[in-house]
C-alpha cells in the first residue's frame, strides 16, 4: 500500500489524523544517523533481517512482537511513564499528553524527570511526538505532547499499570455485572450512600465511577469496612485481578450482617466486580483512589537497595575455590562412570531414576547434585547421546580431560553461559502439571528427568547473563568494609530485576535460584557473594578469570602416600593419568580434595585382568609413592598375582598357527600386517584382531599362502567406525545484544539511499519492499476501525480471483478472519484476511 502522493505530512505533524506508522516513518527518516544507530543498538530486531526503507522500518518498530521485546528492556520508571501515557492518551482520536499531564498522574515525580523518560522512550521509537489535544490551553504550544506507539495497547495487556478496567467497560463486557449493577446502585442508595440514581446499567456504572473517584471519599467509606479489608485490598495494589472463591456469591448491602466478611462487603458495594466464578476485578476508579488519586504511587528513579548480608572475602574465596575443585573432581568422576557404563535413556527421553541412582552412588553425592553435574557435562559436550544405542557416552579422545584445570573450568563456564538448558529444573515438578481437587489424593508428581527436553529453556542464556550483570551491579553498589563482600540472594536479584526489567522479571523468578545454585557450583558465587571469578565472567573477561584461577589452583600432584592399612592417600589433586591408573588397581574412597585409594584383592585382580602383572604394579607404586611400599601391600599384590590368571581369556577374531617360529616373528614385524593387530600368545601362535578372511587376504598379499580353517563360524562383527565429530571447546559469546557495526552501517546506507530514491521524481518503490509495512498499516487501520466503529474500504478477492472494492464496518478480527458488517446489505459476514489486498479507512479516502 504505497502512500498516495500528496498525503505527505510534515514530520511531527498531526498524527491524530494520520497513520501513526506513517508518521513514525517520517520521524525516523528525519533522525540523525547517530540517533538511528542508538535505536538499532537498543532494538536490534528492527534491522535483523534488514529493512528496505523507512516505512518498512517504522512498520516493524510498530509491530507487536518488536514492541514486546522493546518493553522487556525498559526499567520500572520508563515502564511506568509509558503505561501512564497509555492510560492518559488515545491513539485513535489522537488525544495526546505532555509531561505536565503525566506528572499529575505519577505521584512523586517531576516534569523534568518525566520529560527525560519520555525522551528516552521517544529515542526507542516507543512514543511519538504529537499535536496537543483539542482544547488544550494556550500554554500547550510550549510543551511537547506525545502518543504511544499504536500496538502498545495489545502489548501492555488489559491491566496497564496494574489498574483494572473502568466500570463502564466492565458493564459493557460483563453481562452478569450489567444485570446486577442497577440494583446494586439502588441498594446502595437505600443504605444511605451518596450515589446518584441510575436506571440503565451505563448510568449506574457512571454513578459508581463518580462515587469512587475521590480518594478521600473512598477512605471515608473504607473506614467503616470490616477489619482485614485494607489487607485484602493491598493484594490488588499491583494487579487488578484476584482469585476469590465463589466470586459470584450473593452479596448485598441490605442483607449483610455485622460480621460480614471483607470480600462480601466489597462485592456488595461494587468495589470489587466479579468476573467469573473464581475471579474478581478492582475497577479502575477504585484502584486510582486507593493509590491516592494517582496512576503511579511508587515512582522512583533509583532502584531499591536490597538489605544484604556480609561475608568475608576470605570465606568467599575459600568457598568459590572449594566449589570449583569439587565440581571439576566430580565431573571427572562422572565421566569415568559414564565411560565404564554408558547411561541408558528412557523411551520418553531423559535419563531415568535408576540410572541416576547408579550415578549418584558412583559419585557419592545426592541425586540433585548428580543431575546438575550430568546436565553440565552434557551441555559442555563432555558426554553425548549415541544415536545407535540411545545411550549417553563419553566421546573418544575427549580434549577436556587433558586440559589444565583452569581451562577445564572455563570450558564448563562458557558452555553453561551459552546453554539453553536449565540444569536446576531437573527433579522439579513438570510444568503445567494438572492440580487435582483438594479432596483427591495427589498423584505422584511427575518430575523433570535429567537430560530430557523439559529442562530446555531457550531464554536461559539471556537470563543467566542478566543475573550475572545484576549480581555485579549489586556488588559494586553495596557499601561494605574492606575485606568483606555482600551476600546476594535470590530475593535481592529478583528485586533488582523487577526494577530494571519489570516485564522480564516473571521469567527470571522461576530460574533465579537455580542459576544462583549453578553459579555457586561453578565458583562464580562463593559464600553467597559474587566471587572475583564471577565478577570477571560477568564483565565478559573470561581470560582474566582463568588467569586468576590458575594462580589459586594448586598444581597437580604426582605422588601418593602408601600406608600399611592398604591405602594410598593422594594429598590433593592428582594428575589425571596417575589417578586413572590408580583407580584401576584400587577403589577410590572419600569425598573432597584428597582421595583415598583402598587396595584389596579384588582391586588388584582388576588391574591384573587389565593386563598388568605384579612387577608392573609394584613398579608403578614405587615410582609414584612418596614413601616406601609397605610390606602388607607388596604381599597383597604378589599373593594375588601368584594366584591370578591360571586361565587367560582374551579377544581375537582369528589365529595364525605355524610351526615355523621364525616366520611368525617375521610376520609380527611386518609393517603391512600391522593392520591385523597381531599379538603373539605362544611361540607358534599369533592372534589377529581381523577376521579370518581379512587376515588370509593380508597374508596372501605378503606372499604367504595361509590355509583358512573354517571351524565353526568365526563371527565377523561389523563395527560402525565412522569418525565421530570432534567435540569442540565451547566458545561463549554473550547473548547478542547489539549488532556488529558493519551491519548497522550497511543498513543505514540502504535506508538513506532509499530515502533519496523515494523523493526522486518517479517515486516508485518495488512492491515487495512494502509488503511488511503494508500488512502493518492494513492491520493498524483495521484495528482502529474496529475500535472506532468506522467504515473501511477493502479490496477483496473472491473465490474466482476477482478483486472487488467493498465498504464495510469491521467488527472483530481473530484467527486470520475478520467479521464485518456490510451496511449496504445490512448483514454480517466473515472474510479471510488473506483475501484482503488492501484496506483504507473510508474517511481517509474521502479526504
Amino acid at each position: 500500500m504505497p502512500p498516495a502522493a500528496g498525503q505527505e505530512a510534515p514530520p511531527g505533524g498531526n498524527v491524530g489524523l494520520m497513520s501513526l506508522i506513517r508518521a513514525l516513518s517520517k520521524e525516523l527518516e528525519a533522525r540523525s544517523d547517530e540517533s538511528l544507530r542508538a535505536l538499532f543498538a537498543a532494538r536490534p530486531d528492527l534491522i535483523s533481517p534488514g529493512v528496505p526503507d523507512f516505512p518498512a522500518l517504522a512498520a516493524r518498530a510498530s509491530a507487536r512482537v518488536s514492541v514486546q521485546r522493546a518493553l522487556e528492556r525498559l526499567n520500572r520508571p520508563q515502564m511506568q511513564v509509558l503505561e501512564t501515557l497509555h492510560l492518559c492518551t488515545n491513539t485513535d482520536t489522537g488525544h495526546s499528553a505532555s509531561a505536565a499531564v503525566l506528572k499529575k498522574a505519577i505521584a512523586g515525580s517531576t516534569v523534568a524527570a518525566i520529560e527525560q523518560l519520555l525522551q528516552s522512550l521517544h529515542d526507542l521509537a516507543l512514543v511519538q511526538r504529537a499535536e496537543p489535544p483539542h482544547g488544550a490551553g494556550p500554554g500547550a504550544q510550549r510543551q511537547r505532547f506525545y502518543l504511544p506507539v499504536s500496538s502498545l495497547k495489545d502489548v501492555v495487556g488489559i491491566y496497564p499499570a496494574g489498574l483494572g478496567r473502568s466500570y463502564t467497560e466492565l458493564v459493557r463486557l460483563q453481562p452478569a455485572f450489567a444485570q446486577r449493577v442497577v440494583q446494586l446502585v439502588a441498594e446502595l442508595r437505600r443504605s444511605g450512600a451518596a450515589v446518584q440514581a441510575a436506571t440503565t446499567p451505563m448510568d449506574a456504572a457512571l454513578a459508581l465511577q463518580h462515587w469512587t473517584s475521590s480518594p478521600e471519599g473512598l477512605q471515608a467509606l473504607l473506614a467503616g469496612a470490616p477489619e482485614r479489608t485494607t489487607a485484602l485490598l493491598a493484594r490488588f495494589s499491583n494487579w487488578a485481578m484476584g482469585a476469590v472463591p465463589q466470586a459470584q456469591r450473593k452479596a448485598s448491602v441490605t442483607t449483610e450482617g455485622h460480621d460480614v466478611g471483607p470480600v462480601d462487603w466489597l462485592l456488595a458495594r461494587g468495589l470489587l466486580v466479579p468476573l467469573d466464578a473464581a475471579h474478581v476485578e478492582l475497577p479502575h476508579s477504585v484502584g486510582i483512589s486507593l493509590r491516592g488519586g494517582a496512576i503511579i504511587n511508587n515512582f522512583s528513579l533509583t532502584p531499591p537497595a536490597p538489605m544484604l548480608g556480609v561475608t568475608t572475602a576470605a570465606l568467599r574465596r575459600n568457598a568459590a575455590l572449594g566449589a570449583i575443585a569439587e565440581t571439576l573432581r566430580l565431573t571427572g568422576e562422572l565421566l569415568h562412570a559414564v565411560r565404564d557404563q554408558p547411561l541408558a535413556t528412557l523411551r520418553s527421553g531423559g535419563v531415568g531414576i535408576r540410572e541416576m541412582r547408579r550415578l549418584a552412588e558412583a559419585l557419592r553425592v545426592d541425586h540433585h547434585t548428580t543431575a546438575v553435574l550430568l546436565e553440565l557435562c552434557a551441555l559442555a559436550g563432555l558426554i553425548r547421546l549415541d544415536v545407535d544405542s540411545s545411550c549417553w557416552v563419553q566421546p573418544p579422545q575427549l580434549e577436556w580431560l587433558g586440559l589444565p584445570r583452569q581451562e577445564q573450568w572455563l570450558w564448563l563456564v562458557n558452555a553453561w553461559l551459552a546453554s539453553e538448558r536449565a540444569p536446576s529444573l531437573v527433579g522439579q515438578p513438570m510444568n503445567g502439571q494438572p492440580v487435582g481437587p483438594a479432596n483427591h489424593r495427589p498423584a505422584p508428581a511427575a518430575t523433570v528427568n535429567a537430560l530430557s527436553a523439559e529442562a530446555q529453556r531457550s531464554d536461559a542464556p539471556v537470563i543467566r547473563k542478566r543475573i550475572l550483570e545484576i549480581l555485579r551491579e549489586l556488588t559494586l553498589e553495596a557499601k561494605v568494609p574492606d575485606g568483606a563482600a555482600p551476600v546476594l540472594n535470590a530475593e535481592a536479584v529478583l528485586l533488582r530485576a523487577e526494577w530494571s526489567q519489570p516485564r522480564m522479571a516473571r521469567r527470571f523468578s522461576s530460574l533465579i535460584s537455580g542459576v544462583l545454585a549453578e553459579a555457586e557450583l561453578l565458583g562464580l558465587i562463593g559464600s553467597g557473594a559474587l566471587s572475583q571469578l564471577g565478577a570477571a565472567i560477568a564483565a565478559d573477561a573470561p581470560d582474566d578469570a582463568m588467569d586468576l584461577l590458575g594462580e589459586h589452583l594448586p598444581a597437580a600432584l604426582n605422588h601418593v602416600l602408601l600406608q600399611a592399612d592398604l591405602t594410598a592417600v593422594a594429598p590433593g589433586y592428582l594428575a589425571p593419568d596417575l589417578a586413572e591408573q590408580l583407580q584401576q588397581m584400587a577403589d577410590a574412597e572419600g569425598q573432597g580434595p584428597a582421595t583415598t585409594y583402598r587396595f584389596s584383592a579384588e582391586s588388584i585382580r582388576r588391574a591384573l585382568d587389565s593386563g598388568q602383572d605384579a612387577a608392573a604394579i609394584l613398579d608403578f607404586l614405587r615410582r609414584y609413592s612418596a614413601t616406601a611400599v609397605p610390606q602388607p601391600l607388596q604381599y597383597l599384590v604378589e599373593d594375588t598375582a601368584a594366584r591370578h590368571g591360571k586361565l587367560r581369556v582374551g579377544a581375537a577374531a582369528s589365529f595364525i598357527q605355524s610351526d615355523d617360529e621364525a616366520a611368525l616373528s617375521e610376520l609380527c614385524r611386518e609393517a603391512a600386517a600391522s593392520s591385523l593387530g597381531l599379538v603373539r600368545i605362544a611361540p607358534t601362535v599369533l592372534v589377529s584382531m581381523a577376521s579370518p578372511r581379512q587376515t588370509a587376504l593380508v597374508l596372501r598379499g605378503l606372499g604367504l599362502s595361509p590355509a583358512v580353517e573354517e571351524a565353526g563360524s568365526a563371527v565377523v562383527r561389523l563395527n560402525r567406525t565412522a569418525p565421530l565429530p570432534g567435540t569442540g571447546r565451547p566458545v561463549y559469546s554473550a547473548p547478542r545484544t547489539a549488532l556488529p557495526d558493519a551491519d548497522v552501517a550497511a543498513q543505514l546506507a540502504i535506508l538513506r539511499s532509499r530515502a533519496e530514491h523515494g523523493t526522486s521524481p518517479n517515486g516508485s518503490r518495488p512492491a515487495a519492499a512494502g509488503a511488511e509495512e503494508a500488512t502493518q498499516l492494513g492491520l493498524e487501520t483495521l484495528h482502529k476501525a474496529i475500535r472506532l466503529r468506522q467504515k473501511v474500504v477493502m479490496n477483496v478477492v473472491d473465490s474466482l480471483g476477482n478483486a472487488k472494492l467493498e465498504t464495510v464496518v469491521p467488527v472483530s478480527v481473530a484467527g486470520g478472519r475478520v467479521r464485518v458488517f456490510d451496511p449496504a446489505k445490512d448483514t454480517e459476514r466473515v472474510l479471510s484476511i488473506h483475501r484482503i489486498i488492501d484496506i483504507e479507512a473510508a474517511e481517509e479516502m474521502q479526504q
Binding site: G322, A323, A564, G592, P593
Partner: protein, 547 residues
C-alpha cells in the same frame, strides 16, 4: 595458597598429614572437636560428628573458633557446605539447659521457645517431663535426667547440663607417688576428666588406665564404686590401688560372685551386678543405694545393657569410663558417650608408643595353607561350621609349635577361641591352659607363675582378653578368634604392650588359614589396629622356620 597440614573433605573427614611441620599444632587444635578415626603412618583421619561438635561446645569452644581452626590449618579450600553445617550443628547445643531450680528441683529451660515446644511434643520425651512452669521452663523428673539427655541428643537438641553433680560421701584418698610419678598424659587425662565432670578416657592397653582411675579418685576424694569385667581384674585393681594410693586393705571391698563386701572403695564386677533373679537385679541396689561420689567403668566398651539402663539413672554422679578400644561391634559407642559422658582424652597408640610408655609391637600375620583333606572338608561344610573348621586347622597347631620353639626363653601367650584347639595345643606345647571353667584361684595362681617366669608358655581362651596384666609377656600367638571382632584383636595385642624391662619389642602373631573365611575375618579384625598405625607383616607358614 595455604600450606597447612590438614585436608578437609566434604564427607566431613579431616586428613592430617603427620609428617608436616605444623602437624602437632594442628592435631591439638582439632582434637577438641573432631574425633580421631584412623591413625595409619602418614595420614591420620579425623571425623566431624555432631556429638564431637557438641562436646566442643560443652567444653567452651564456639563455632567461630572451630571454623577458624579449619580455615587456618587447611591446605585446600574448605567445603563451604561443611562450614555451614558445623555452624548450624554447634548452634543447636545449649538451646536447652538442664538446671537446678530452688523451687522446682530439676528443670529444663530454653531461650528458644519453639525448640522446647518441639521436644516436649516428641513422643518419647513427653513422659519424662513434668508440669510446665512457664513458656520457657519445664520440670524434669530427676530420675530421668540421663534418659532425657540421651533422647534429646538423639533428636538433635542436646541439652547443656548445668545441674551439677552430687558430692558423694567424702573419703580421703591420696596418690602415693613414691618411686613413680603420674605420666604427663595420665595427668592430662585426669585433668580433662575432672574439668568436664564426666566422660570417657581412651588410652591404649598397657598405658596405665588404672592410674588415671586412681588419680581421679584422689582428686575426688569420695567413696568410689569401680565396675570391672571379672574377678581377676577386680583383684588387679585392688592390688594396684593398694600399691599406688593411700588406701588400705580395709578400705577396699570386693563385690563379686565370691565375696560381697561394701567398703568406701568397692570394686564390683559387671557380671554380679547383672545377675538376674526372679526378673530382678538384686545387686543393682549396690549402685544406687549408696552415696558414691565417683563411679569408674573399666573397659567401658563392654558395658552390658542393664548397666546402660542403670547408668541412665545415675546422671547426678560423676562417671569415668576407661577403655582402650572404643569400638563396639553392636555400634553403641554413641550411647556410651551420651550416658557416661563425652570422650575427654584420646591418644593414638603410636603416640604413646613413641613416648616410650608402651612397648613397640611387631604384628605378623602368618598365612597357613589348609592341607588337602581339610580343604575338602571346608569346601563341603555347612556355612555355620566353616569358620570353626578353618580356624582350628591342624596346620595352625604345627605352626604354633614352631613359633613357640622359635621364641624359647620368652614369655609366650597362645590365645584361641576354641577349647578343643586350646586343649590340644596345651598338650602339644606342654603348657597349662586357662579357660572359662578354670577357677579364679587356679587362674590367679597360673598368672602369678607366668608373671614370675615359672611358666613360660600359657595357653588362654578369651577369658584373658581383657584387663589381665601380664607385664613380661612379649609374644602372643593368636590361633583363632571370635569372628571379626576388632576390639578383641586390639585387646589381645594389648596384653603385650606393657613396656618390657629390656625395652624389647613385643611380637604378635596371628595365624590365618589362607583362602578361607578366616582370612576375611582376620582382615576385619586387624582394621582397628591397622587404623592405629600397626602394620601387619604378612608371612607364609613355610617361612616361619627361617624367620
Amino acid at each position: 595458597m595455604n600450606d597447612g597440614p590438614l585436608i578437609v573433605q566434604s564427607d566431613k573427614t579431616i586428613l592430617l598429614e603427620v609428617d608436616h611441620e605444623q602437624a602437632t599444632e594442628a592435631r591439638h587444635a582439632i582434637a577438641a572437636f573432631a574425633e580421631l578415626e584412623r591413625a595409619p603412618e602418614h595420614m591420620h583421619s579425623y571425623r566431624l560428628t555432631p556429638l564431637g561438635l557438641w562436646n566442643a561446645r560443652a567444653a567452651g569452644l564456639d563455632a567461630e573458633k572451630v571454623l577458624d581452626t579449619l580455615l587456618t590449618y587447611s591446605r585446600f579450600p574448605v567445603p563451604h557446605s561443611l562450614l555451614i553445617d558445623v555452624e548450624e550443628t554447634m548452634s543447636r547445643y545449649g538451646r536447652l539447659r538442664l538446671e537446678k531450680d530452688p523451687q522446682h528441683g530439676l528443670v529444663m529451660r530454653t531461650s528458644d521457645y519453639p525448640v522446647l515446644e518441639e521436644v516436649s511434643r516428641a513422643k518419647k520425651i513427653q513422659p519424662l517431663l513434668g508440669p510446665r512452669i512457664d513458656a520457657e521452663t519445664v520440670v524434669v523428673h530427676s530420675s530421668q535426667r540421663g534418659q532425657l539427655k540421651q533422647l534429646l541428643l538423639k533428636i538433635g537438641w542436646p541439652a547443656e547440663d548445668l545441674a551439677g553433680y552430687v558430692d558423694g560421701t567424702p573419703h580421703p584418698i591420696m596418690l602415693d607417688e613414691s618411686g613413680w610419678t603420674l605420666r604427663p598424659y595420665q595427668r592430662l587425662a585426669t585433668e580433662n576428666f575432672w574439668a568436664g565432670g564426666s566422660g570417657v578416657v581412651v588410652l591404649p592397653c598397657g598405658a596405665g588406665k588404672t592410674l588415671v582411675g586412681a588419680a581421679a579418685m584422689a582428686t575426688s576424694s569420695t567413696t568410689t564404686l569401680i565396675l570391672v569385667t571379672n574377678t581377676v581384674a577386680a583383684r588387679q585393681w585392688k592390688d594396684e590401688l593398694l600399691r599406688r594410693t593411700s588406701l588400705t586393705e580395709e578400705e577396699i571391698g570386693e563385690y563379686s560372685g565370691a565375696v560381697k563386701e561394701v567398703r568406701p572403695v568397692t570394686i564390683a564386677t559387671y557380671q554380679v551386678l547383672t545377675t538376674k533373679r526372679g526378673g530382678l537385679y538384686p545387686h543393682l541396689e549396690l549402685v544406687d543405694g549408696h552415696d558414691w561420689g565417683l563411679i569408674i567403668y573399666d573397659e567401658v566398651h563392654l558395658l552390658p545393657a542393664p548397666i546402660f539402663r542403670m547408668t541412665a539413672d545415675l546422671q547426678a554422679r560423676r562417671r569415668l569410663g576407661l577403655t582402650a578400644t572404643l569400638v563396639r561391634e553392636d555400634g553403641r559407642e554413641g550411647e556410651v558417650f551420651s550416658l557416661i559422658g563425652p570422650k575427654r582424652y584420646d591418644a593414638p597408640w603410636k603416640d604413646i608408643e613413641a613416648q616410650g610408655y608402651i612397648a613397640p609391637a611387631d604384628c605378623v600375620e602368618v598365612r597357613v595353607d589348609l592341607p588337602k583333606d581339610e580343604r575338602v572338608a571346608y569346601a563341603m561344610a555347612e556355612d555355620a561350621d566353616k569358620y570353626r573348621l578353618c580356624a582350628t586347622s591342624e596346620t595352625k597347631t604345627v605352626v604354633a609349635e614352631q613359633l613357640v620353639a622359635h621364641h624359647r626363653g620368652e614369655q609366650v601367650l597362645v590365645i584361641g577361641q576354641y577349647i578343643d584347639q586350646l586343649d590340644e595345643l596345651g598338650e602339644r606345647l606342654d603348657a597349662p591352659v586357662i579357660k572359662g571353667e578354670t577357677s579364679v584361684k587356679v587362674r590367679q595362681k597360673l598368672f602369678d607363675a607366668f608373671r614370675a617366669g615359672e611358666v613360660q608358655t600359657l595357653v588362654v581362651s578369651k577369658v584373658a582378653n581383657f584387663s589381665i596384666d601380664l607385664p613380661e609377656a612379649s609374644v602372643a600367638i593368636q590361633v583363632s578368634g571370635s569372628f571379626g571382632s576388632r576390639q578383641e584383636e586390639a585387646q589381645r595385642l594389648g596384653r603385650l604392650l606393657r613396656p618390657k624391662q629390656d625395652g624389647r619389642a613385643a611380637r604378635f602373631y596371628s595365624l590365618v588359614a589362607r583362602d578361607t573365611l578366616d582370612q576375611d575375618f582376620a582382615a576385619k579384625r586387624q582394621r582397628f589396629l591397622a587404623e592405629q598405625g600397626y602394620a601387619y607383616r604378612i608371612m607364609d607358614a613355610k617361612d616361619v622356620e627361617s624367620c
